[in-house]
Amino acid sequence: MSTHVTTAATGSLWEGGRSPYLTNSKKFGMWLFIISDSLTFSAMLFAYTYSRVSNPNWPTPFHFSPSIVFSSVMTFALLTSSLTMVMAVHSMNQGNRAAAARWLLATMAAGATFVGLHLTEWMNLINHEHITAFGNEWGVPQFGGTFFAITGLHMTHVVIGLIYLGVICQAVMRGKFKAEDVEVAGLYWHFVDLVWMFVFPLVYLMSARV
């Protein structure tokens, strides 16, 4: 966006001392982290899939109401938080720090809503469906193990994202940090949203019960 990278016009970009991707190192570092974290989540979703395929009596514990309704609202909150995050980056690029801070706070509010609803949904599963990470009444402990591992790791990412955005937000309000710092934080937040775009259909919707 507002990132400017200057390179000499002659010679190869790949001979060193240049920025071949024409992007700043923070952003490239975040991309590398995102790619490696994608593999972690992919491996966990494959573990879930293989456990499901190898257990024909896989549970379908998610009643349309409240579980699917709750998780749909959670998805809406996360998607909306991505939009507000984009708006924060956009405002920062235009030099409007006050607006950027407000959009960051809106993003954090949507993220906190997601975590709150998710914990409520977890409590519903534990207390009413009697599903724990180690067992359930269907006799398929792999369900709870993979479900709580995937959603727990994702929720951990959201909580870390909230702390990250909080740090960025207070710095923006105090006139510190540049637009690129907000953009890098945005990359992380969008990644958290992106992972949920696979977790929600594969874990929740594929095990829905009307």
Binding site: M1, S42, N93
Partner: protein
């Protein structure tokens, strides 16, 4: 993707584009929830959900994460390897299918 050498000032999409992407993501999510409500047969459901998820992921990466407006070399460095590694994980699918048949009868 931009190929300037002297100076890069990456231009991103505007607010209307972001709003359209957000509405498209919401619409696809609504379709997914509707399919679940209708209790669509498993394989059709899985195919449609995976297809929509990949489209949603692509929209988020391209527009929200701005990759569409970065250099092509950044995309080529990051994503072919990622997709290759994810596809490699399919290697155990056959084993997962065989396990139920290999269990001794109770």
């Amino acid at each position: 993707m931009s190929t300037h050498v002297e100076e890069i000032s990456s231009h991103g999409p505007g607010i209307p584009t972001f709003a359209k992407v957000w509405m498209a993501l919401l619409a696809m999510t609504a379709i997914e929830v509707f399919l679940a409500y209708m209790q669509t047969p498993m394989m059709i459901m899985l195919t449609v959900l995976l297809g929509l998820s990949v489209i949603k992921a692509a929209l988020i990466i391209a527009y929200f994460m701005h990759l569409k407006f970065e250099r092509l070399s950044l995309f080529l460095t990051l994503f072919p390897m990622l997709i290759f590694c994810i596809v490699l994980m399919l290697i155990f699918l056959g084993d997962a299918y065989r396990i139920p048949m290999m269990r001794p009868p109770v």
